[in-house]
């Protein structure tokens, strides 16, 4: 009886995982195909990967994405952590209202944020495009570190801070020597998450495509138009590996805290 359940369970799980992951694996398979068409691939070749690094636009787009993602993460995490720490001190209804407000970007279609950023650029000129892009990314990603840190703070024993105060530590000292080291477990995964979100962002970035800032996802889509499939697949595989690696680091070293789970 239990055996039958196990079989059912395993079948469902295999199908489930297959549904989610097979497409990606197919992509990887295509990327090592020496020929342009035809699936299943005949042979094995890494020539498309070599192609990637010869593409000037790819490297510059990767660089743009990287800078943007880094800036977004730094800003987003700082704002989110500060807000989470502040919210901890607010009681009852006030904290509920503030939380709803700070999380509201999550409930608005990304298009709206993008339109707003687009609007700013058309009126204020292309020079502000990085700034507008950065702000749009920060707005969209900030709820994540806020939620993650808040979840970890829910389990945070304030007596650890009180003990420090009783020994003579001023609030600033308490923050840097006690609070911050102890919430590190949720701050670093939040940083990685925001980095990835910004790195992968397409919707907001596409609106600003006419500017100097072409991010990687945009470049990828452009390649779809005129590059061969295996080449795009190879680029995609590189991105897949990169993302999986970041996720692995986040999960491995920071486990449940990265999901904002404290249970």
């Amino acid at each position: 009886m239990a055996h039958r359940n196990q079989i059912a369970r395993n079948v469902v799980l295999v199908l489930f995982l297959g549904f989610l992951l097979l497409p990606l694996l197919v992509l990887v398979a295509v990327s090592v195909n020496p020929q342009v068409m035809a699936f299943p691939p005949r042979g094995f070749s890494l020539k498309w990967y070599a192609e990637i690094f010869r593409k000037e636009e790819f490297l510059s787009a990767a660089y743009s994405s990287f800078i943007l993602a880094l800036a977004t993460s730094a800003l987003s995490v700082v704002l989110g952590v500060l807000a989470a720490l502040g919210m901890r001190k607010l009681k009852g209804r006030a904290s509920g209202v503030v939380l709803a407000m700070l999380q509201s970007p999550l409930f608005f279609p990304a298009v709206i944020v993008a339109l707003a950023a687009f609007q700013i650029i058309t009126t204020m000129g292309i020079e502000v495009s990085f700034f507008a892009l950065l702000m749009a990314h920060v707005v969209v990603t900030m709820p994540y570190p806020l939620r993650n840190v808040l979840a970890q703070l829910a389990n945070f024993d304030s007596r650890l801070e009180e003990a420090a105060m009783s020994l003579g530590a001023k609030p600033i000292t308490v923050f840097f020597r006690i609070t911050l080291p102890l919430i590190r477990a949720s701050v670093i995964p939040a940083f990685l998450l925001v980095f990835v979100l910004s790195w992968n962002n397409y919707t907001v970035s596409i609106f600003l495509a006419g500017t100097n800032w072409v991010t990687l996802p945009l470049q990828l889509r452009a390649y779809l138009q005129y590059e061969y499939e295996p080449f795009v697949a190879a680029m995609s595989t590189v991105l897949i590996i990169f993302s999986a690696f970041l996720l692995f680091v986040s999960e491995r070293f920071f486990g449940a805290a990265s999901r904002g789970q404290s249970k």
Partner: protein, 288 residues
């Protein structure tokens, strides 16, 4: 509670929350209002007047309402429903695994989330394309004489949306389902319920709050879909977000684009509200 100055923890709290609040106000709320105002202007007007012309234009044209808005809504709802079913099944069975396997499973499910959506959608294009896996299989086994058009239609977009939102649904449901103590189902078994009954009468009702949360999340994500329709729809499947984009960049009609955005926003909120209301009405009535 920690004391900063004499009984004024709220002052330091406000100071900490302020930067985030300021940034959000400047970069989100104000632009949001600006967009709202924009939607009330007419692109053709020479001077600044407020009018509902954009909205009138939208709702009076069946192409927009029936073709665009309705398609967005119905595809989103369908995708949400499917991802709820698939996600629930996945989450349910994952909670039946050993602890360590669960962590691995979580990692595997989260992988797609951290991979660029363009990449993920691209992989579907590869699979569903003329020379893709599915067609290759169908032709090779002789089910169809030549490759069929699988891409660039509503079904492809639906498939893509389900694929995209299922991980989110899974993660939300997993957290909730994991909290339901096994003893509750076991208790039902001991008083004579079959496993199916125990599931339907005990486990399922307890997971309703999770289904509500997951459904809200999925609805929101699906309604604002941009990448999936634009890539898998190939221009033939119009979606609200995509229409807004095209209006703004291609047609250079920002006010109309803004109007579309506002309508999308309102529709999303309405859909979420209705969903929550219906779920609570039907399933939760007296208990919570």
């Amino acid at each position: 509670m920690s004391a900063v100055a004499h009984s004024q923890p709220s002052r330091s709290a406000a100071l900490l929350v302020l930067p985030a609040y300021v940034v959000l106000t400047l970069c989100f709320f104000i632009p949001l209002i600006w967009i709202g105002v924009q939607s009330l202007t007419d692109a053709r007007a020479t001077e600044f007047t407020l009018s509902l012309s954009n909205y009138a234009r939208f709702f009076s044209d069946s192409h927009y309402v029936a073709g665009l808005l309705w398609r967005t809504v119905w595809l989103s709802c369908a995708a949400t429903l499917l991802s709820l079913i698939i996600g629930y099944a996945g989450a349910y069975f994952v909670t039946r695994l050993g602890e360590r396997t669960q962590s691995t499973m979580l990692f595997l499910v989260m992988c797609p989330l951290w991979v660029n959506l363009v990449v993920r959608t691209l992989s579907l294009m590869v699979i569903l394309g003329r020379d893709g896996v599915v067609n290759g299989f169908l032709v090779a086994t002789g089910i169809v004489p030549k490759p069929i058009q699988l891409l660039y239609n509503d079904w492809a977009v639906l498939f893509g949306m389900v694929q995209m939102s299922t991980p989110f649904v899974f993660l939300t449901l997993y957290g909730v389902l994991k909290q339901i103590p096994n003893e509750l189902t076991s208790a039902a078994l001991t008083v004579g319920a079959t496993p199916l009954r125990a599931f339907a009468r005990v486990f399922l009702p307890l997971s309703i709050p999770g289904l509500i949360a997951a459904g809200v999340l999925a609805l929101g994500i699906n309604m604002e879909s941009f990448v999936v329709p634009i890539l898998l729809g190939g221009g033939r499947v119009t979606f609200m977000s995509v229409a807004a984009y095209e209006m703004a960049t291609v047609s250079n009609n920002l006010p109309f684009a803004a109007a579309i955005g506002m309508i999308l926003l309102a529709t999303t909120f309405l859909a979420i509200f209705l969903y929550q209301w219906a779920m609570k009405k039907v399933f939760l009535s007296s208990h919570y």
